[in-house]
C-alpha cells in the first residue's frame, strides 16, 4: 500500500527527465541526420506541419547520414576523438595514482581529523570551476608564477601553457575530489579487523595492504575512474583555456561547430558519436551505483 504510493513520487522526476533529458537527445539524434542551412534555426529539413502526413514524409526523406560522412572525411574529427579518449584515459590513470594515496592517507587519520580532511577535499569543488582553471593560466603562462619559482631555484623555464601537459594538469586538478571521495568511502568503510586477521595469519603490513585493503577498495577505484573519465572525455573549459589551439577535444569541437561555425548538424553528430562512445562507461557506472544503492 505504502510502497505503491511512494512510487507515485516518481511521476514528477520521470516527467522532468523525459522532457529535459530524454526527448532533447532525440532532437540531437534527429539534427545529426539533417544538413546545415542558412536559416534560423540553421538546419534543414524541418517538418512542415501544414502539409500533414506528407510533410512528415518529406521531412523523413530529407534525413541522411551525410553529416557523419563528413566527419569521417575530415582528419580533424578523428584526431579530436582519439585525443579526447587518450587525455581522459591518461588523466584517469594519473588521478588513480595520486588520488589513492591521498584517500588512503585520510582514512588512516583519527576520526575527527578525517572528517575535516574530507571537508577540505570537497571545499574546492564548491568554488568556481572556471575560476580554478583560470588560476592555472596565471601560474603556467611563460611569465607566470611557475617560471618565477623555477628561475629562483635556478632551473630552466618551462612553457607548458597551451599544451596537452597543461590540459592534463587541469583535468587532474579539477577532478581530484571526484577520485578521492569514492576511494575514501570504501577505504573508510573497511573493517580494520580484516587487516589484523591478515597480519595474524602471517601477512606483513605491506602484504596485508596489497592482499586485503587494495582488492577490497577496487570498487571505489572503479567508481572514481568512471566518475572522472566520462565527463573528462567531453570536457570543454579545460582544453579551451589551458590547451590553446593545438589541443583538440570533442567537447571543444562541439562548442566550435556550434558557436563559431554555426554548423548545428555537425555539432549534433559529434555529440552523438561522443555519447555512443561513453554509453558503455556510463552503463558500467550505473551498475556500480545500483550495487551501492542496494
Amino acid at each position: 500500500m505504502r510502497r505503491e504510493r511512494s512510487a507515485l513520487a516518481a511521476i514528477l522526476p520521470f516527467l522532468w527527465l523525459a522532457i529535459f533529458f530524454a526527448f532533447p537527445f532525440l532532437l540531437v539524434a534527429k539534427l545529426s541526420l539533417s544538413d546545415a542551412a542558412l536559416a534560423m534555426p540553421p538546419y534543414a529539413p524541418r517538418i512542415d506541419w501544414s502539409q500533414g502526413l506528407a510533410g512528415v514524409q518529406a521531412f523523413l526523406a530529407g534525413l541522411d547520414g551525410e553529416t557523419y560522412a563528413r566527419l569521417t572525411q575530415d582528419r580533424l574529427y578523428l584526431d579530436a576523438y582519439l585525443s579526447s579518449l587518450r587525455l581522459a584515459a591518461t588523466g584517469t590513470l594519473i588521478l588513480l595514482l595520486i588520488g589513492y594515496p591521498i584517500a588512503y592517507g585520510i582514512s588512516r587519520c583519527p576520526p575527527r581529523l578525517r572528517q575535516a580532511l574530507v571537508m577540505a577535499v570537497i571545499l574546492p569543488f564548491w568554488t568556481s570551476f572556471l575560476i580554478r582553471i583560470y588560476a592555472w593560466i596565471a601560474i603556467l603562462k611563460p611569465a607566470g608564477l611557475l617560471n618565477v619559482v623555477l628561475a629562483k631555484l635556478g632551473l630552466p623555464a618551462v612553457d607548458i601553457l597551451n599544451t596537452e601537459t597543461a590540459v592534463l594538469l587541469g583535468l587532474v586538478y579539477a577532478y581530484l575530489p571526484f577520485m578521492v571521495l569514492p576511494l575514501y568511502a570504501v577505504l573508510d568503510r573497511q573493517d580494520e579487523t580484516l587487516i589484523e586477521a591478515a597480519q595474524d595469519l602471517g601477512a606483513t603490513p605491506i602484504s596485508a595492504f596489497w592482499r586485503v585493503t587494495f582488492p577490497i577498495s577496487l570498487p571505489g577505484a572503479a567508481a572514481g575512474a568512471l566518475l572522472c573519465f566520462i565527463p573528462m572525455a567531453g570536457e570543454f573549459v579545460i582544453p579551451d583555456l589551458l590547451g590553446g589551439s593545438d589541443t583538440l577535444m570533442l567537447g571543444k569541437v562541439i562548442w566550435t561547430e556550434f558557436f563559431a561555425n554555426r554548423d548545428w548538424p555537425a555539432a549534433s553528430a559529434v555529440a552523438i558519436v561522443l555519447l555512443a562512445t561513453l554509453t558503455i562507461p556510463i552503463l558500467l557506472f550505473e551498475r556500480q551505483q545500483a550495487k551501492v544503492l542496494r
Binding site: D191, E196, A198, D200, L201, T204, S207
Partner: protein, 384 residues
C-alpha cells in the same frame, strides 16, 4: 545441554579428569604471562597479570566486558604491546615479534573473513603467507573444510554463508596454518543459543582430536564452564581466580567470583569458631556452619548456592543451618523451579529445586510458610 552424538568421539569428561599439567612442577608452560600490565590513557586494562597456559589445554578467560580479557588476548596475538611484564611462548620472550611472525592465530569475534575471497581462499590465506607449496595448500584446505564439516563449500563466497558456516570458516582459517595456540575471541557471541551449545561441544572435540592448545575469551560463564579445562576469572584487569570449572564454582575465591559464576546466597557475619575444617559464623540471619577456615572474630561470609538449599513445607528437626520464611515468588524453569524466600522483612534468599518428577500440582505456592536447610559441606566460607 545436548551435544550432537558423534562416534567415534573423544570422551572429554573422562580425559579431563586426569589432565592436570599445571599441578606438575616439572611441566613447562606453553604460554606464560609474567607480570603483564597495559594501560590505555587513564584506564588500566590489564593490571600485573601472571598466568601460565599449558600444551593441549583449553583455557578460558572469563569476565564482564571491560575486564581486560580481550586486551590480554590481543597482547598474546601481538596487536597490543604490554607496558610492563613479559609474554613467553615456549620459553621465548615474544615482545619484539610483530603479529605476523607469531605462531599464534586468532578467531575474531565478528570472524573478519575476507569478503573478496572465497571460502577456500580465506582458508589458504595463512598457508600462502607461510610460502607453503601450491600442491600442498589444496589438500590442506580440503582437510580443513572437512574438519569443520564444510566439504564442497570451498568455492562459495563469504556472503553466501550462514552465520554458523562463517564461524566455521573462521575457525578453519585460523587452524589451517597449525598455530601453536589458537585464540578465540568470543567465538560464539553471534550464534543463537541452540547452535552455540552444539558448537561448544564441537570445539572441545576438535581441540582434543587435534591435540592443540586453545585460549578462549568469553563473558558467558556457562560457555566457559562447558568448554574449558581451566577458567581464569578476571575483574578490573586482574585475574582473581584460576581453576577447573568445578573448583571455581564450588570453591570460589571470593564473593565476586561466587556471584559472577552462578547464583549465590551470602550470609555476612563474624567468625565465632574455626576448628576441624568447619567454621561457625554468627550473622543477623542466624548462626551457620560451613566447611573451610576463617580468622576468629573477623568478618566473613557463608556462601551457599540455591540448588544446595532444600525447601521443606513442614518444620524440619532441629539442626544447624535452618531458616524459616515464606515464599515471596517462584519461577518455573522446566528442569528447575526457583523460589524467592523471604526470611526477614526485605531479606530474601534463592532456593532451587530440581523437578525430578512431572509434578502438575504445586506443592508450594506464594505466601506458603517454608523452612530452608543446607548441609555444612554444601556451604563455603569466604573471607573476601
Amino acid at each position: 545441554m545436548s551435544g550432537r552424538p558423534q562416534s567415534p568421539r573423544p570422551q572429554i569428561g573422562g580425559i579431563r579428569e586426569t589432565f592436570a599439567p599445571w599441578a606438575d612442577p616439572q611441566a613447562r608452560p606453553l604460554v606464560r604471562f609474567d607480570g603483564v600490565s597495559k594501560t590505555f590513557g587513564d584506564t588500566t586494562a590489564v593490571d600485573d597479570v601472571s598466568v601460565s597456559i599449558y600444551e593441549r589445554e583449553f583455557f578460558a578467560l572469563l569476565g564482564p566486558s571491560g575486564c581486560g580479557k580481550t586486551t590480554l588476548m590481543r597482547m598474546l596475538a601481538g596487536f597490543e604491546q604490554p607496558d610492563a611484564g613479559r609474554i613467553l611462548l615456549a620459553d621465548r620472550d615474544i615482545q619484539a615479534d610483530p603479529p605476523h611472525r607469531r605462531p599464534v592465530h586468532m578467531m575474531f569475534q565478528a570472524y573478519a573473513l575476507f569478503p573478496h575471497l572465497s571460502v577456500a581462499q580465506n582458508i589458504a590465506f595463512g598457508l600462502k603467507q607461510q610460502k607453503m607449496a601450491r600442491d600442498e595448500i589444496a589438500p590442506r584446505v580440503e582437510e580443513m573444510l572437512s574438519l569443520v564439516r564444510l566439504d564442497g563449500m570451498g568455492k562459495r563466497r563469504i556472503d553466501q554463508l550462514s552465520g554458523g558456516q562463517r564461524q566455521r570458516v573462521a575457525l578453519a582459517r585460523a587452524l589451517a596454518p597449525r598455530p601453536r595456540i589458537l585464540l578465540l575471541d568470543e567465538p560464539m557471541a553471534a550464534l543463537d543459543k541452540k547452535l552455540r551449545e552444539e558448537t561448544q561441544f564441537e570445539l572441545m572435540a576438535l581441540q582434543q582430536t587435534l591435540g592443540m592448545t586453545f585460549m578462549i575469551v568469553t563473558h558467558d560463564q556457562d560457555e566457559a564452564m562447558v568448554v574449558a579445562d581451566r577458567i581464569a576469572v578476571m575483574r578490573e584487569g586482574r585475574i582473581v581466580q584460576v581453576g577447573r570449572p568445578a573448583e571455581v564454582y564450588e570453591a570460589p575465591a571470593d564473593r565476586y567470583v561466587a556471584g559472577f559464576i552462578g547464583d549465590i546466597n551470602l550470609f555476612e557475619g563474624r567468625v565465632a569458631a574455626s576448628e576441624n575444617g568447619v567454621v561457625r559464623l554468627v550473622s543477623g540471619d542466624g548462626t551457620f556452619e560451613a566447611e573451610g577456615t576463617g580468622p576468629v572474630g573477623e568478618t566473613a561470609w557463608v556462601a551457599v548456592r540455591p540448588e544446595k538449599i532444600a525447601v521443606h513445607a513442614e518444620p524440619p528437626q532441629q539442626g544447624v543451618n535452618t531458616l524459616a520464611g515464606r515464599i515471596l515468588d517462584y519461577g518455573y524453569l522446566g528442569d528447575w523451579t526457583t523460589y524467592l524466600v523471604e526470611i526477614a522483612p526485605g531479606r530474601t534468599l534463592r532456593a532451587a529445586r530440581a523437578n525430578a518428577t512431572r509434578a502438575t500440582d504445586r506443592p508450594l505456592g506464594c505466601d506458603d510458610p517454608v523452612w530452608l536447610t543446607f548441609a555444612t559441606s554444601s556451604a563455603v566460607v569466604l573471607t573476601r
